[in-house]
């Protein structure tokens, strides 16, 4: 059983465990079909459920785990109770998020900007219940020209404290302009408000690339792909989906193939089944490792290591891309059996280049915050400090 160990002062990294791949396989067993209204019954021992529960929780799939075992003996176990708590919490948070979405969209529209909502709620509505698909923030996409106006609207008192992740264009789909997506977007109802969402084909493309960008670390993202595949509307344009994916075509089909192979997602009337079946031998083991490793929560900014250079090797290690993320970020080919290390190195160097392009502004912010800390030590706030007669 793996434990979380503290590496240095700032990071928590899962310790390696020889049973890691086995646990990831168990995770896949639990999640297979879990997004359906009536998922298939789960055959698993109590011990196995206990082993996989930490992964279910760390991957954001606690609610789905509960959905799979509810009503069975496994649901009454200690693990089942933990998963049920996760489900309950996700349900409440999802309800709050819906209210926040309505507020955020109303706020931005009042400023004359039309946003597109993607990921999060737009995928969550494909699941049988809102508590099955947790999301931490609200992804809104606006045209680059409207970004400043939208940001100002969200900074107004009514828009503050809304967990909005505002995107300029749609870089995740390689689009600077939002026009191609706006033309195909649709309006759906949320609490009486019409919310603009991506067309199903664009949503699926976005989800695939989002999963690759994050190295497939969260099993929940693969469940999203599976749920989207099985809930696609009539007339889903597979030709457009294939064409629009362009140079990411092979990667995107690999992801659909993963959802089918690992989570038993049904591909329906997809005319490109042969493309889904093509995948390199390294890919599935990479997914098992990614799930076991989970999301690496790195505290502290890389720029802070300028003052703590002894922590730099650890900082690099915790940011090292896995084979999937490395191949995606470096623009490498997925459908070959070449070793992944060069692509991981390429992916890391890509991130480093992005960091250096922001280096001047990051340095300025670091110096400003260090200066502010220094000033507060010299000049304590009124009321703090020894009494006048001490």
């Amino acid at each position: 059983m793996h434990a979380l160990k503290r590496e240095g002062r700032d990071t928590l990294i899962p310790a390696k465990d020889p049973g890691g791949e086995e646990r990831s396989r168990l995770l896949a067993v639990v999640l297979a079909g879990a997004w359906r209204t009536s998922p298939p019954p789960l055959t698993m021992s109590l011990a196995e459920l206990g082993q996989v529960t930490p992964l279910l929780l760390s991957n954001g799939t606690g609610g789905l785990g509960w959905w799979r075992i509810r009503g069975s003996d496994l649901g009454d176990s200690e693990s089942g109770k933990l998963l049920q708590q996760a489900y309950r919490l996700h349900t409440l948070v999802a309800a709050m998020r819906e209210q926040q979405i309505v507020k955020a969209v109303t706020q931005i529209r009042a400023a004359g900007v039309e946003p597109i909502l993607a990921k999060g709620w737009t995928v969550g509505r494909l699941y049988p219940e809102r508590g099955l698909r947790p999301y931490g923030d609200i992804d809104l996409y606006v045209s680059p020209n409207d970004f400043g106006t939208a940001m100002a609207a969200l900074k107004a008192p009514e828009g503050k404290a809304l967990p909005v992740d505002l995107h300029r264009g749609c870089p995740d789909l390689g689009l600077r302009s939002l026009e191609p997506l706006l033309i195909r977007s649709q309006l759906v109802d949320l609490q009486g408000i019409a919310i603009r969402v991506l067309a199903p084909e664009d949503q699926l493309r976005l989800l695939c690339r989002h999963l690759l960008k994050h190295g497939a670390r969260r099993a929940l993202l693969l469940c999203d792909i599976a749920a989207t595949l099985e809930c696609q509307p009539e007339g889903f344009d597979w030709e457009y989906f294939d064409y629009a994916s362009k140079r990411n075509r092979d990667r995107v089909w690999c992801v659909l193939g993963l959802a089918h192979q690992i989570l038993e997602a049904r591909l329906g009337d997809c005319p490109f089944l042969a493309k889904c079946e093509k995948r390199p031998r390294w890919l599935i083991p990479a997914v098992w490792s990614a799930w076991e490793a989970g999301i690496l929560r790195v505290k502290g900014r890389i720029i802070d290591y300028l003052w703590r250079p002894w922590g730099l090797p650890e900082a690099i290690r915790s940011r090292w891309p896995n084979p999937i993320e490395g191949t995606y970020r470096s623009g490498g080919q997925f459908l070959n059996e070449l070793p992944r290390f060069p692509f991981q190195l390429g992916g890391f160097l890509y991130r480093f280049m992005m960091f250096t392009s922001f280096f001047p502004s990051l340095m300025l912010r670091a110096v400003q915050s260090a200066f502010q800390n220094q000033r507060s030590n010299i000049n304590p706030a009124p009321g703090i400090g020894p009494p006048a007669d001490a």
Partner: protein, 178 residues
Amino acid sequence: MDRMVIQELSDETLVYDLERNRALCLNRTSALVWRYCDGRTSFEQVESVLERELELPDGEEAVWIALRQLQRNHLLRDGLNVPETAKHYTRRVFLTKMARVGAAVMVPMIISIVAPTAAHAATCINVPCRGKGQGGRGSGDGRNGGFCPEGSVPGQACGPPDCTCVCKKAGAILRCTP
């Protein structure tokens, strides 16, 4: 209520108190009583609703217990005046009474919902203790401190015959201890 987010599920009601940053889960009985705390429904009406819908033999006791729990969890707007005749009603005694007639699940209950973490779940493994007879380690997965298997009793052995571990109560959980 503006300061609350409420979600009704099939057999429980979830409440998030935005003011206190607390998530609560009301079972069916508590949720039903809360639903009728609308300033218009009398105590006797609530009592008869419980007796009718939940087939509770004693609605009065259940309503008072539920009201006290609701007040304790800040789910009632106004204060609660509990009459002398109802002050002796306790959830524990009511639970014993209801358990005898197989209606324990109807006892009003409000629990806090706490986010379970992967670290917390890592010690919850639902496997029998391996104990000293198998590798000389403590419990469950070969490490000390695993959860006792289902059905374990505090103070008693919690594993197979060759296991020397004992189930010890640590707070609200039972730990397999060498």
